[in-house]
C-alpha cells in the first residue's frame, strides 16, 4: 500500500545539534551514558542548544561540574566548552576563585541536589550571599543516583530509597527558599518537562549579572521511580498510586506534582505539601555583584595608577 499515509525516510536524519555535542563532535553520534528514562539527556541537549544558539564564547563561559550522575553530561554538552571537574560539593568555591582571578569569566555551574544542598550547602549559601556572577543549575532528582539510590536532602516525605527503606521522614530542604534567604539575585525553578521554559531561564541567567540559581526537577527512573508510587505529592487526594516504571510515567508525575507560582498563591500548605512550585521567584538586576564591587575597591586603593 505504498503512497498512502505519511512517508518516513528509511534512515533517521541526524539531529541538527548532534555535531555540537562532545560525543557528536568526536564520534559523529550522541553517546549518552544515562539510564533510559533519565532527564539528564534533555538537560545536556538543552545546554548545547543554548550554547550554540547564543554563540557563547567558550573561553568566557567555563563549565564547572560537580559530582553526581550529571558529571557524565560531559559527553552531551557543547564540545567547545571548557570543562572543569571539581570535588563533591565544592564547585561554587572553585567558581568563586576563578571569577575573582579573571572577572571576565562567567562560570556556569552544574550541581545536583546532594552536591549543592547536602555536602556543598555552605558553599551554596555563601555564593548566593556574595551574589557572585555565575549561572548555577541545580539538578534535583530527589535521590543520590550515582551511588545507587540513597536518600537526599531533597527526598520527598514518604518516599523510599536505599537508606530510607521504610519511608523518608526528614524535612526536605528547598534550594529556592535557601537561595532566596541567602540573597541570590535571579532564582527560578522549572522541570525537564518544561524544556522551553528551562531554555528561557537559562538564557536569562546568562545575561544576568549576579548569582543565578535555576533548580531543575529531573526524573531518576532507575532509583526513584522504581521504588516509589506516583501517589507521592498527592497525599491529600487519597488516590491509589501506581508504579512509575517508565520515563513517561515519571515525566507525567513531575508535571502533575508541580504547581505554578501563581496557582500556589491560592493553595494552602497541606495542598502544597511534597509538591514543587515552579516559576521565577526573584529577578533583581540592580543588586550589587561581588566582583564588580571588588573592582571598585581595587580602583580606590590603586590611587593614581
Amino acid at each position: 500500500m505504498s503512497g498512502l499515509g505519511p512517508q518516513y525516510p528509511t534512515e533517521k536524519p541526524d539531529h541538527p545539534y548532534v555535531q555540537f555535542s562532545n560525543s557528536g563532535y568526536l564520534f559523529g553520534k550522541y553517546n549518552s551514558l544515562f539510564c533510559a528514562g533519565c532527564g539528564y539527556g534533555i538537560i545536556g541537549h538543552l545546554f548545547t542548544r543554548v550554547f550554540e544558539d547564543e554563540k557563547l564564547d567558550p573561553k568566557l563561559f567555563p563549565l564547572i561540574i560537580g559530582i553526581g550522575c550529571y558529571t557524565q553530561l560531559v559527553t552531551l554538552v557543547h564540545h567547545a566548552s571548557q570543562k572543569i571537574f571539581t570535588l563533591h560539593g565544592r564547585s561554587p568555591a572553585i567558581a568563586t576563585g576563578m571569577k575573582m582571578a579573571n572577572p571576565k569569566l562567567k562560570p556556569i555551574i552544574f550541581t545536583g541536589d546532594g552536591d549543592c544542598l547536602g555536602i556543598g550547602g555552605n558553599h551554596f549559601i555563601h555564593i548566593c550571599r556574595r551574589n557572585l556572577d555565575c549561572a548555577m543549575l541545580i539538578f534535583n532528582n530527589s535521590i543520590y543516583g550515582m551511588t545507587g539510590g540513597q536518600g537526599a536532602p531533597t527526598t520527598l516525605y514518604g518516599a523510599k530509597s536505599t537508606t530510607t527503606p521504610y519511608k523518608a521522614f526528614e524535612n526536605r530542604s528547598d534550594a529556592i527558599k535557601l537561595a532566596l534567604a541567602a540573597g541570590a539575585s535571579y532564582i527560578a525553578r522549572t522541570t525537564v518537562a518544561h524544556p522551553r521554559t528551562l531554555m528561557k531561564y537559562f538564557k536569562k541567567a546568562l545575561n544576568h549579572k549576579g548569582t543565578s540559581v535555576i533548580e531543575v526537577i529531573t526524573p531518576c527512573l532507575t532509583y526513584f521511580g522504581s521504588k516509589n508510587l506516583d501517589s507521592l505529592g498527592a497525599e491529600n487526594l487519597n488516590i491509589h498510586g501506581s508504579k512509575m516504571d517508565t520515563g513517561g510515567k515519571m515525566i507525567d508525575w513531575i508535571k502533575r506534582n508541580t504547581v505554578r507560582k501563581n496557582q500556589a498563591l491560592f493553595m494552602d500548605d497541606a495542598e502544597l505539601f511534597n509538591r514543587y512550585i515552579i516559576g521565577e521567584f526573584r529577578y533583581d538586576p540592580e543588586k550589587p555583584e561581588y566582583s564588580e564591587e571588588y573592582a571598585k575597591i581595587q580602583k580606590i586603593t590603586n590611587g593614581e595608577d
Binding site: A93, T96, M100, A101, L105, N122
Partner: protein, 390 residues
C-alpha cells in the same frame, strides 16, 4: 595579572616586620594575585595583611566561608591563571586535604603556608609552636603524590623561601608548603628586601607557552626525564579538550591501568630531588656528632654548636630547608661517618627522626630532643651534646 604595578614591591632596604607579614610580602614579590583564606590563629595576620595589599595591585583577597572554600577558591584561581596561595594552621589544613589531593592529581600549582600550633583546636595554647603537621603535609590527602615543603627559620627566609616556593609550584606543578609555626609567624625581625629588578629576575611567571596545543606531563622514554608542561589556563586556548581529572596517559586519554600516571606524579618530584632539595651545612666538615634540624630549632642548634665547639666537641648541624621530599641520598652521605645523631624537633613523634632512621647506619644512635609548645633553649641541646660526647 601584571607584575608591573609598583606597589607590589616594598622599597629596597631594611624593614622590620612580623614573620607572617614577611611571608605575605614574599608572596607578593613572587607574583601573588589571589589569596583565599579563612581566619585561624596563628595565621590570621596573613589574610589581614593581604586583604589590605592585594587590591592595591589589582589582585584579590577573599575571606571564604571555611577552609574547604578557601582552598577550592585557590585551586579555581590557579586554574584561571593567577598565582594563588592560602595560609592556615593545623585544623584548617585537616579540612583542606581533600582538595590538596585533587590539586596534586590535577597538577594545579599553589602554595600553602601552614603556621602550625599546639593542640586539637578548640581552645588553649594556640599561639605556641608545635611542628605536628609534618606527617599530614607529607601525605596530605587520599591518592598518591609528592609534595614539596620548605622550612624557613627566620623572617628573612620567610620572605625569600616564599618566592622559591612559588617558583617550585610553577615548575613542578604540585602543592608547595611553607612550614611556619606560631612563634616564627609572630616573630618581629629586620629583613632585607632586594631591589625590584632583582626580585623580578628571581620569579618564574605564569605565562602561556609558544605552542598553544595542550600537552600533558609525561615521561620521555628516550631520555627518561619527566616533562612537565606549563599549567593550563581556563579562558585561554591553552586548556585541555579532555579533562585532567582522570588518570591519563601523555595524550590526555583516560586510562584504567594508571601505573604510569602515578609514576609520573611521584617521579617528577623524586627525579628532580637535587634541584628541589635545599640544605645547609654548619661546621659539619669534621663533625662526629651531627644535629639534624629544620625550622626554629635550627637557631638553637647553631648556638649550641658554637658553645660546644668552644669546649672542643666536634659537632655540626645539617639543616633541612626542603623537608619534603626527604633528601635520602644526600643525608646518607652526611651521616655515614657520624658517631651520633641528635634531632631536636618541636614534636614528640619525630617525623624527621623517623626518616633519618631509614637512611642512617644501624649502629648509629639517634638522640631525640622533643619539645611541644615551647622553644628549644641552646642549653637543652648543649646538654645532650655533652652527654653524647662523654
Amino acid at each position: 595579572m601584571s607584575t608591573k604595578n609598583s606597589k607590589r614591591y616594598l622599597p629596597e632596604g631594611k624593614h622590620v616586620m612580623m614573620g607572617n607579614i614577611a611571608m605575605s610580602e614574599g608572596a607578593l614579590a613572587a607574583g601573588l594575585n589571589f589569596f583565599g583564606g579563612y581566619p585561624i590563629t596563628p595565621s590570621t595576620e596573613v589574610i589581614e595583611h593581604l586583604a589590605k595589599r592585594l587590591p592595591e595591585i589589582g589582585g584579590s583577597c577573599i575571606q571564604m566561608e571555611d577552609e574547604l572554600g578557601s582552598i577550592n577558591a585557590v585551586v579555581g584561581a590557579s586554574l584561571a591563571g593567577a598565582k594563588a596561595m592560602t595560609a592556615t594552621s593545623g585544623p584548617g589544613l585537616s579540612l583542606m586535604v581533600e582538595t590538596i589531593s585533587m590539586a596534586a592529581n590535577l597538577e594545579i600549582p599553589f602554595v600553602l603556608c601552614d603556621v602550625q600550633r599546639v593542640g586539637p583546636g578548640s581552645h588553649g595554647p594556640v599561639t605556641s609552636p608545635h611542628h605536628n603537621d609534618l606527617g599530614l603535609i607529607r601525605f596530605a590527602g587520599h591518592g598518591e603524590f609528592q609534595v614539596i615543603a620548605l622550612a624557613p627559620m627566620n623572617c628573612q627566609e620567610l620572605f625569600d623561601l616564599t618566592i622559591t616556593a612559588f617558583n617550585f609550584a610553577e615548575i613542578y606543578r604540585c602543592p608547595v608548603f611553607i612550614i611556619s609555626d606560631a612563634y616564627l609567624g609572630h616573630l618581629h625581625e629586620p629583613i632585607y628586601i632586594p631591589p625590584k629588578e632583582e626580585l623580578i629576575r628571581r620569579v618564574i611567571n605564569r605565562e602561556l607557552p609558544q605552542d598553544y596545543t595542550y600537552k600533558y606531563s609525561y615521561k620521555d622514554e628516550i631520555t627518561g626525564k619527566y616533562i612537565i608542561p606549563k599549567p593550563p589556563i581556563v579562558g585561554t586556548d591553552y586548556y585541555p579538550p579532555i579533562s585532567l581529572h582522570l588518570p591519563h596517559n601523555n595524550t590526555g586519554f583516560p586510562i584504567t591501568n594508571a601505573l604510569t600516571f602515578m609514576e609520573m606524579l611521584i617521579e617528577k618530584i623524586k627525579s628532580n630531588i637535587d634541584k628541589i632539595s635545599i640544605t645547609e651545612e654548619y661546621k659539619l666538615e669534621d663533625a662526629d656528632i651531627i644535629i639534624i634540624a629544620y625550622g626554629l630549632p635550627v637557631r638553637a642548634s647553631y648556638r649550641a654548636v658554637d658553645l660546644a665547639r668552644e669546649k672542643g666537641i666536634k659537632v655540626g648541624v645539617y639543616r633541612l630547608i626542603t623537608v619534603w621530599p626527604f633528601p635520602d641520598e644526600k643525608l646518607k652521605r652526611v651521616v655515614k661517618n657520624a658517631k651520633a645523631i641528635i634531632i631536636p624537633e618541636l614534636n614528640y613523634t619525630g617525623f624527621i627522626a623517623e626518616q633519618v632512621e631509614r637512611v642512617k647506619k644501624l649502629e648509629t644512635p639517634i638522640f631525640k630532643i622533643p619539645k611541644v609548645g615551647v622553644f628549644h633553649h641552646p642549653d637543652d641541646i648543649l646538654n645532650v651534646i655533652k652527654e653524647v660526647s662523654k
